[in-house]
Symmetry: C2
Subunit: 226 residues, 2 copies
Amino acid sequence: MTIAAPVERKHVESLVREVLTQRLRGGSSARQIDGPPHPLVVNVSARHVHVTQEHLEILFGAGSKLTKMKDLYQQGEFASEQLVTMVGPRQRIIPNVRILGPIRNYTQVELSYTDGVYLGIDLPLRISGNHEGTPGCTILGPKGSITIPHGVIRAERHVHMSTEDMAYYGVKDGDYLKLKITGPSGVTFDRVRVRYHPKVILEVHIDTDEGNACDLETATKIELIK
Amino acid sequence: MTIAAPVERKHVESLVREVLTQRLRGGSSARQIDGPPHPLVVNVSARHVHVTQEHLEILFGAGSKLTKMKDLYQQGEFASEQLVTMVGPRQRIIPNVRILGPIRNYTQVELSYTDGVYLGIDLPLRISGNHEGTPGCTILGPKGSITIPHGVIRAERHVHMSTEDMAYYGVKDGDYLKLKITGPSGVTFDRVRVRYHPKVILEVHIDTDEGNACDLETATKIELIK
């Protein structure tokens, strides 16, 4: 699940303030020529699962469809109503892990290192979809269970960028930027990987360990720097 | 519990290599004049509890003493064999939380934000011993339970320094340094508070969220910088 509220709200508020200030000053409401094309949004990705249609039907029954609980920040992405249970090699479980939609052409589990230690899985750091040499696990659903041989990862922290975002920051797909979070638990994440897609909007994804390490909710300033 | 192994071993190994190299080169085994007085050690503090003798006896029975499981890095500090269970307001529990010795003159629970979210406790960021306005909780032991009105915190990340460590880094008690962790999940912790005591040796303490965010075990370089 993506926890977007505090930071996103802050950015929306700051954007609204900026536009209102410009209007009150008699200026234009268009964004500044040298400003960023999109506001910088940082979202914390809690543990979640992506599934193929085949696996969804094993877990939830033949003919099942993912149903939307709420939209995520990227258009078309959503948190589904479907929850599964992860089973690890230490015979411990994590219940209520949400499936994110839409359906993918691979099944993947994204956990934090805290989850990995609890379950007994040594998580590799990977970009979504790169499953070579990754461990598997068992996933329980209400109608059945699957055991995947690969696909359990810690997602490498990343920033989704469109062509104009990359141009503004002067980076290309696969480059690394720093994310500086100022606040009582201030942290600079030194390796935030740029992930290009023509249809995304600017958004950084970090996991719960990272979001808790910097206490994102109390952040007073957020910057992407080279 | 303090998880010291990978980083500490690395530093000890590097120190041994350094001394051996100096000797093989016919140099002195004394540390360089401009080098740090102590090797930089970073330890991850997992969730733990400090207790008063009165509370220990309620939890474990009259006349109980803390018994040592293993020594920690700072002289006199130890992980005890005594374990308790934390109870939070969401009626969830965290079992097997270790008491660190020796006995203190206050009872304090140090949790990560991940733990706080799970238990339903909004943790304040505090230096050990500062309990003003902090929440309490219920602690269960094998012989009884206590409910403390205050004392549940996230420990502010900090570095223990002696007089000569502070002189080397040019800081004083209460100042902040940065801790730069280089590696696949590289992070710079921007606010690491200097805590002075004449009898400590140089040691940084971060919590499990922070240790997992930077994946301390895979770190290739660790620096304290201004």
